[in-house]
């Protein structure tokens, strides 16, 4: 009887001699995850707008002249004095001007206008404002504060941006003069660091949760939905916690997917599941707990684990879908006889 042997296609060699050239090519051969980086820019910008636009009228109370009572704690943090320049508590005119400029910078950043210049300046404004107060930041602010200096070196506006439109219109003249190997290495290093940071957040947070009873007995979501300060839609929160299987499933999955996140990234199906679950979880956190800035930053960083080819495939599918929906123009009319 004839037997057939199915040979598995050989995977990439893991011999150091083979890995090293691939690594060099990966870092220096061109920027990776450009769609993910562009979406990270948009999500981070949206997170800042959602945070600072609604607080516009409270700005003097939160960060300005009325926040001097916080100074004994703020001064203990030991931030560099240069961050005191833009938002002085004793000069409301300069404070207001800086606040408006900051909002304009965030809009420019979100739209991807002159991103390479806007990003570091916006980071400086953000730091200057946030270091004026305490009690006002959450995990999303902290995360953004850590990754923004690295995002400065990334190409955040290759897609879905005014910069990209300008490059398309003007061609190579609007492009960068930095050598490809340098811009690629800078971008890819920044992307890897952002990826490591989000992995650290998930793993550390997951490991801490494993030490708490609420996460192991499946009740944590119930308590989170009953904190008054996070109940932006009380009816929906009450509806969610009354479905006990939902509470158990989300509580367990959120811990274990976070802890296993780095391992799940290694295999495509588990990676897709982990990313879809975590993005869904953060969407839920945004809607139910009102933590939009935090959730948007987390989802934006998750996007870095989606390859450009996947985004390109999704875009093709979306375009085809839109084309099908659009009524055909110029097609001969069929007249019923």
């Amino acid at each position: 009887m004839a037997t057939t042997t199915t040979r598995l296609a050989p995977g990439p060699s893991l011999r150091p001699a083979d890995v090293w050239p691939r690594l060099v090519t990966w870092f220096t051969g061109g920027p990776r995850v450009l769609y993910g980086a562009s979406l990270l820019r948009i999500f981070a910008g949206a997170a800042l707008l959602i945070q600072f636009v609604p607080s516009f009228f409270d700005r003097h109370y939160l960060w300005g002249v009325a926040s001097t009572w916080l100074d004994p704690l703020v001064n203990l943090n030991g931030y560099w004095a240069i961050f005191d320049v833009l938002f002085p508590k004793g000069d409301p005119t300069l404070f207001d001007a800086s606040y408006v400029v900051f909002l304009l910078l965030v809009v420019a950043f979100t739209l991807g206008w002159r991103t390479a210049w806007v990003t570091p300046i916006m980071w400086f404004f953000l730091m200057s404002l946030q270091t004026n107060a305490t009690f006002l930041t959450n995990g999303g602010d902290n995360l953004l504060r850590i990754v923004l200096p690295f995002m400065v070196f990334m190409r955040l506006s290759a897609h879905l941006s005014l910069d990209a439109r300008r490059v398309r219109r003007r061609g190579a003249r609007a492009g960068t003069r930095v050598p490809l190997w340098l811009s690629s290495t800078a971008h890819n290093t920044g992307a890897v660091i952002c990826g490591i940071q989000i992995i650290a957040v998930y793993v550390v947070s997951g490991l801490w949760k494993l030490q708490g009873d609420d996460w192991l007995n499946g009740s944590a979501l119930y308590y989170a939905l009953n904190l008054e300060t996070y109940r932006v839609l009380p009816g929906l929160s009450d509806l969610a916690w009354q479905v006990t299987p939902f509470v158990f499933a989300v509580t367990f999955l959120s811990v274990w997917v976070q802890v296993a996140f780095p391992v799940m990234l290694l295999w495509r199906p588990s990676r897709v599941f982990a990313l879809l679950f975590l993005m869904g979880m953060h969407t839920g956190i945004a809607i139910l707990l009102g933590l939009w800035p935090f959730s948007l930053v987390m989802i934006g960083l998750d996007m870095l684990f989606v390859r450009d080819t996947t985004f390109a495939w999704m875009l093709r599918k979306a375009r085809r879908f839109v084309t099908r929906l659009r009524p055909a123009t110029g097609a001969p009319r069929t007249v019923a006889s």
Partner: protein
């Protein structure tokens, strides 16, 4: 076969060095991250580095861990003043946290103001609980004394710190508590002056903690836990409130509680 040129070799060297540099930066980032996320005391040798990096690189991802926060924190404040005829008057309790939560636009992100006194109350409470029972009782007494002339004045904070620490080995906890107590004194003076529209000479506050039923009793109609209310002693109000500071407080009060409806409980 293509012969490797000098230009190719230069490009290869540049690419190799760039990759080495990138990997070095990534390894450094991982090292710093590992140090910052390590539990306090786990890496004593790196404590100096942790301290230096902390304002910019804090990595505390424990808002809902190890257990979810279960309590809600509210600050209510009260102020006293003297009338023209010398009579002493006291305001009702005013819900400072309730005012900061009285925003419109349900379903969207909460404005940042909703975090301020809620987090401040949590911090105050944590520092209060770090003291022992005798010290806690002391903080619930008045920090005001007679000035010997029919008036009152603030007690010397150094004397308060000494009395609180006497015979105890937690002076740092005492200082940490008194620092936030001092901050509250400023904040509550500013707030009550603007809210009541008059100068005040003494103030106090209470922290109310509520919590939902435990998961096992989630469908019970009756409240499982009674609210915890801790009232702290009277403090001397700050002497003056700057007009621009008062205006900033007043602006918030006018927008969130124009009817002054958060005066909750009579004294």
């Amino acid at each position: 076969m293509r012969v490797s040129t000098r230009a190719d070799r230069t490009t290869d060297r540049v690419a190799r060095n760039a990759t080495i540099g990138a990997l070095a930066i990534i390894v450094a980032f991982i090292t710093v991250t590992a140090i910052m996320v390590a539990p306090s005391g786990a890496l004593p040798a790196a404590s100096g580095m942790k301290s230096a990096m902390s304002p910019y690189f804090t990595q505390r991802w424990t808002l809902f861990a190890p257990n979810v926060l279960k309590s809600n924190y509210y600050i209510e404040v009260q102020a006293g003043w003297s009338d023209a005829d010398g009579g002493r008057r006291t305001s009702d309790w005013i819900g400072l946290t309730d005012l900061e939560h009285a925003f419109t636009g349900a379903g969207l992100a909460r404005p940042r103001i909703s975090m301020l006194s809620w987090n401040a109350a949590r911090t105050y409470r944590e520092r209060y609980l770090a003291l022992d029972e005798d010290q806690r009782e002391y903080t619930r007494t008045s920090f005001i004394e007679s000035d010997g002339d029919d008036g009152f004045e603030a007690r010397d904070p150094v004397v308060i710190a000494d009395e609180l620490s006497e015979g105890k080995d937690n002076r740092s906890d005492v200082i940490r508590f008194l620092r936030v107590d001092h901050m509250f004194r400023t904040h509550v003076t500013n707030f009550t002056t603007a809210y009541l529209g008059r100068d005040v000479d003494r103030i106090r506050w209470r922290v109310t903690i509520t919590r939902a039923n435990d998961f096992a009793h989630r469908h019970d109609e009756t409240q499982q836990f009674t609210d915890t209310v801790t009232t702290y002693g009277w403090r001397q109000a700050r002497r003056t409130v700057r007009p621009d500071v008062e205006a900033a407080y007043l602006d918030v009060i006018e927008r969130y509680d124009p009817e002054r409806s958060l005066v909750t409980v009579g004294e």
